[in-house]
Structure formats: C-alpha cells, structure tokens
C-alpha cells in the first residue's frame, strides 16, 4: 500500500474574501512535499475555481485533498442545487451566477471548463436539489 495523505477543508458559503484559502493552504503543503511546480499550478487553479463555485452556487461545502505517490485527488462535495445541464455548464462562458456575483468579476463561465483543463481527470456527480460532488485528479 502506498503512502497517502489527506487534508480536509470546510468552505464557507457566500464569503468571497475567504475563497482561495483552501487552495492556498494546499499549495503550500504541496511545495513542502516537493511536488513539481507544474502540478502545483494545476491543482491551485482547479481547486480555486472549485472553491469559488462552491461559494457562488452551493453555499459552501467540503473539499478533501488526497496526495499519493501517483496523483493528487480533490473531491469537492456540496449540498447545493445541483447542475441541471452538465454539458451546458461545461461550455466556456456559460454561467448561472447571479448579477451581483458577476459584478464582482466572478461568474465568467470559466469555472468548470478551467477545472477540466487544468486536471487530468474530472468526474461530476450531481443531483438536482441534493448537491454536487466533483472529483478531480492531477497526475504526478
């Protein structure tokens, strides 16, 4: 069995000023582990986008990050409204963010597309009214 390390973060909903704290913490830990800067960059960007999504759409949630020899796995679980149309949500520029959120510079419709672009694997598990769990992997 290979070594595995898990970190858990609780994301506060509706607090934009704190979004990014979890990805920043993970980034520092990955640096201390000696993970290459390319992988760190991918994890940081994908996770930040995920965090922002949880803040905007789902009133927060829980992120679990596991690091093993082979990959970094991020599981973002929320109890939000769910994603009605995943293929639409995956389109660049498509956003269901509220107007006041957009006026803050968020909701450009790049969240999920960026999460996909910066990770090697991504799986979305969503149920309307129940919540969404996104699993992303960055290979090492």
């Amino acid at each position: 069995m290979s070594e595995q390390l898990t970190f858990t973060y609780t994301i506060d909903g509706n607090d934009f000023t704190r979004a990014g704290e979890a990805s920043s913490s993970v980034k520092n830990k990955l640096k201390m582990l000696g993970v290459g800067s390319d992988a760190i960059r991918k994890v940081a960007i994908a996770m930040y986008e995920g965090e922002i999504n949880m803040v905007i759409h789902a009133d927060g949630g829980v992120i679990t990050v596991s690091v093993s020899d082979n990959d970094i796995t991020m599981v973002l679980a929320d109890k939000g409204p769910g994603i009605p149309d995943i293929s639409k949500a995956m389109q660049e520029g498509y956003s269901t963010a509220r107007e006041e959120v957009r006026s803050l510079g968020f909701g450009a419709g790049m969240g999920l597309p960026n999460m996909k672009r910066f990770t090697d694997e991504m799986h979305i598990d969503t149920e309307l009214g129940k919540g969404t769990t996104i699993t992303m992997k960055v290979h090492l």
């Binding site: 390390l5 990014g20 920043s24 980034k27 640096k31 201390m32 582990l33 000696g34 940081a44 690091v67």
Partner: protein, 472 residues
C-alpha cells in the same frame, strides 16, 4: 559560490536579544526561531527583507554593511548614490548639492543610480514589447523579491524581468568610465553603492541573475547622510554640474516609480512584504488578469522605505515628487550610452526548494503526515513560546529534527501533570503496602528524574533539543 547562495545581511546582535518572540511573529518566511533565549535566523529561509529589523523592540536585528572607510582601499572611487539618498534632505531643490558633497566627502567621482535606472526603464520597455506574449513580467530590481520568488514561487521564476537592476548597470558604467578616465586597472577602482537597504549588500556579494557584481562595497544611506550635511552649504553657482537624471530615474526610489518608467497602463505596483506575498500568491493562481507588468518592492513605500534610510518613507515620497517636478521625463538613452554594455541577465535564477520537508517525495509525504499528527497535538494558539512562530512550524521543526514536542509548554505541562500523577499513585501505594518493590521503586526514581529534567527545561525552548544533540 554555492556557500554564498543564502548569504544574508540581516543579522542578530546576540547581546541585545532578549529572547522575546516579536521577530518570529513578523518574519514573512518564518525564518526565525528563538531557542535557548536567543533568536536564530535560518539562512536558507531568510530573504533579507529587514522586517525583523523594524519590529525588534530591542534592536537586536541589525544590517551589516561596509563602513565608509572602504574608500581608502582603492586608488580611485566612484560613489553610486541611490535616488533615495536625495530625499533624506529637507528642501533639496538641486541634486547637484548632494553629488558635489559626495566629492567633498572623499569620493573621486559620482554616478547616479537613477541615471542607469532610466536605461533600465528603456531596456524594459523594449523587452516587454518584444515578449508581450510572455507577460506579465515581475520586476527584478528588489533582491528580496527575487529571493522570495526563488524559495517560494517556483512557477513565477520565469516571469522575472531578466534585466539587471539599475545599481548593477550603474556600477558597470561607472567602472568603464573610470577606467577610461584614469587609465587605472579596473581592480584599483572602487565602485561604492550608497544603499537604502541591506538586501543590496547581499546582492553585491552574491548576485542573482549574473555571476559577479561590479559593486565593490555597499555603505548605508544612514551613515553617509549626516556626513554630507556640512558639505551641502556651498554656493550653488559654484557647483560642478554632475546630475544627469530625470523624473523616471529619481522616481524609481518610490513605490510605483519603476512602472512609471514603463509607460504602460496595465500594471500592478505593490509594496510592503505582506502585500507582495498576497500578490505573488494570486499571480501564481492566475487570478490576476490583463497585466503587463508587476512591480514589487519589499519595503513599504518602495526603496525610500529601506531600513538603512533615515527619513519617513512617505515624507520621502512627497519630497521625491517635489524634487523632480521641473525635471524632464528622462535624461538617459541607451543609444547615447556606449558604456552600458549588456543589460540582460546572464544566469537563470534556480528554484531553491528550501521548504521541502524530505529529500524524496515519499520521505516528505511521511514527514508531512507526522507534521499533521503533531500539529493536532498542539493547542493551536500559535503563542510562540516554543520559539517557533506557529504550532505548525514547531511540528515541522520537530519532523526536521530541530525541536522536540516538549518545546511546547502545553505538551510539557501535560507530561509533567501525568508524571506527578504517576508519582502520587506510587506514593500512595507505598503508604498502603508499607514499602515498594524494587521495580516500583526504580519506576518512582525514573519518574522523578524525568520530572526534574522536564522542569529544568521549562521556559527554555530548545533545551530538550540541546540535550538530545549532546547525547548524539
């Protein structure tokens, strides 16, 4: 060369250190520990920003630099005044007053760093224009910023503007001109920088981006400032015209000064180490969009806020604006400066993974898991009594072998309570049984010995660590 890699000019004056925890709390890279009642700066973590110098209430953090007497070591000396020197003085309207005073002080010639800064601005404008697709670029003029990026932000190293700092360009030009003028060997010429900060002292000895600096010695503005005053009362009409820099060059000493010379609107200029750390984090996460250039200065207010200056940084900024008000934008152009040579970096800056826990990923993973476990044992107060800035850093130190859990007074207190309970139990056993068996009596002895040792180490962070290393 390698041993100089982490050379620093911020040092501890041990006799003044009271062993308090102010410095460890303010260090942006968590490079300081207090062990055995004295602070200790960890070379590889320190970026020479000088923040501890500002915060130490006992003035136990000092900057090392050269004394002005170094001008006697050379046959011919050229002073390189940083533009921040000018704004130390009140009501200065003519830079030549300062420059002439430097000659009176004993320098043979002067060359303004601000003049070279205008060449650097021009070269930067050209470089950015040609490499627009690689933007944003990060300013490389502040050595502490480069050192911070080198140890903490590997993905941003490639964004550093690969152009020499103004002082380096000034030093090259000054030496070339002095050789032409005097016919002396280059080694006989002393190029002496009058600096606002200690990080330039380290830079001159162990530069990044180039192999060897042309700066021979670095003296402090705060040393030179009072010595110039008596020489500044000269009749202005008698001054030798020496000044040759405009608004851009002199403005480099202020936050926002470097970007002002780039004539771009898509910039970010941040000053102060805490602010620039935030900017670097956000740049790393690609959260900042539409930027061409990012100017970062470790000191609040820019170079005028350096720890070797005398004047308040914000007053100095106002004085800068007043001083350059009637100056042309720029007085220096690359095409007119054949002595400028190559302005670009020759070497790459390499990532130094000093914060990495282990030597391999596997080892680091194991160590990180120990760090997490240990951190959970600590109270999370980040009180600093152990000598490390946070509970997490103490855990890291322990895993690296530089501390023990008992350095945490809360862990120590729990251990002592536990021991005293055990002793109490044995003592009451003795009362009921009349006497103790040999093994129980031995146990009691060992408890008391441990208790005595732990109490002795109480309040002396690092004590236990020292005992351990003695045994080794």
């Amino acid at each position: 060369m390698d041993k100089d890699k982490f050379m620093r000019s911020v040092r501890l004056k041990e006799s003044a250190c009271q062993g308090c925890i102010n410095c460890i709390k303010h260090c942006p890279t968590q490079a300081i520990r207090v062990h055995n009642g004295k602070a200790h700066i960890i070379d590889k973590f320190c970026i020479d920003c000088g923040r501890c110098i500002r915060y130490c209430p006992h003035h136990a953090k000092i900057a090392v630099y050269d004394p002005l007497s170094v001008i006697n070591n050379f046959k011919y000396t050229v002073a390189l005044p940083a533009p921040s020197l000018y704004t130390q003085y009140n009501n200065l309207t003519n830079v030549d007053i300062v420059l002439n005073a430097l000659l009176k002080l004993g320098f043979d010639d002067v060359y303004e760093v601000s003049a070279a800064a205008e060449l650097v601005s021009e070269a930067s404008r050209e470089y950015i224009k040609e490499h627009m697709d690689e933007a944003p670029f990060i300013s490389s003029a502040c050595p502490s910023v480069i050192r911070l990026i080198r140890v903490k932000f590997p993905s941003l190293i490639s964004r550093l503007l690969p152009i020499k700092a103004p002082v380096e360009v000034a030093a090259e030009i000054a030496r070339a001109r002095a050789v032409k003028k005097t016919g002396l060997d280059p080694e006989d010429i002393g190029i002496i920088f009058i600096s606002p900060c200690p990080s330039k002292v380290s830079y001159a000895k162990a530069p990044l981006g180039i192999e060897k600096s042309n700066i021979d010695n670095v003296v402090a503005i705060k040393d030179v400032y009072p010595l110039l005053l008596p020489h500044m009362k000269q009749d202005e009409s008698q001054l030798i015209p020496l000044s040759s820099s405009g608004r851009i060059g002199i403005g480099w000493s202020n936050a926002g000064g470097e970007v002002a010379g780039l004539l771009t609107e898509n910039y970010l200029a941040a000053d102060g180490i805490v602010n620039i750390l935030r900017v670097l984090e956000e740049l790393e996460d690609e959260k900042l969009h539409g930027l061409t250039f990012v100017e970062l200065s470790a000191c609040n207010g820019g170079c005028v806020g350096g720890t070797l200056t005398v004047e308040n940084a914000y007053i100095a900024t106002t004085k800068t604006k007043r001083l350059v008000k009637y100056q042309p934008v720029s007085k220096n152009h690359l095409s007119e400066n054949p002595d400028a040579g190559n302005l670009y970096w020759a070497d790459n800056v390499e990532y130094e993974p000093v914060f990495r826990l282990g030597n391999t990923f596997k080892e680091s993973l194991k160590m990180m898991s120990d760090v997490e476990e240990l951190t959970a044992r600590f109270p999370g107060l980040d009180c600093g009594s152990c000598g490390a800035p946070t509970c997490q850093t103490l855990a890291e130190d322990i895993v690296r072998g530089d501390a023990t859990p008992n350095d945490c007074i809360y862990v120590l207190r729990a251990n002592i309570a536990d021991l005293s309970h055990k002793i109490k139990d044995l003592a009451s056993k003795q009362k009921t049984d009349g006497s103790l068996s040999d093994s129980s009596s031995e146990l009691l002895d060992s408890y008391i010995r441990t208790l005595t040792a732990e109490l002795a180490s109480f309040g002396v962070p690092g004590h236990a660590r020292k005992e351990v290393s003695k045994e080794e």
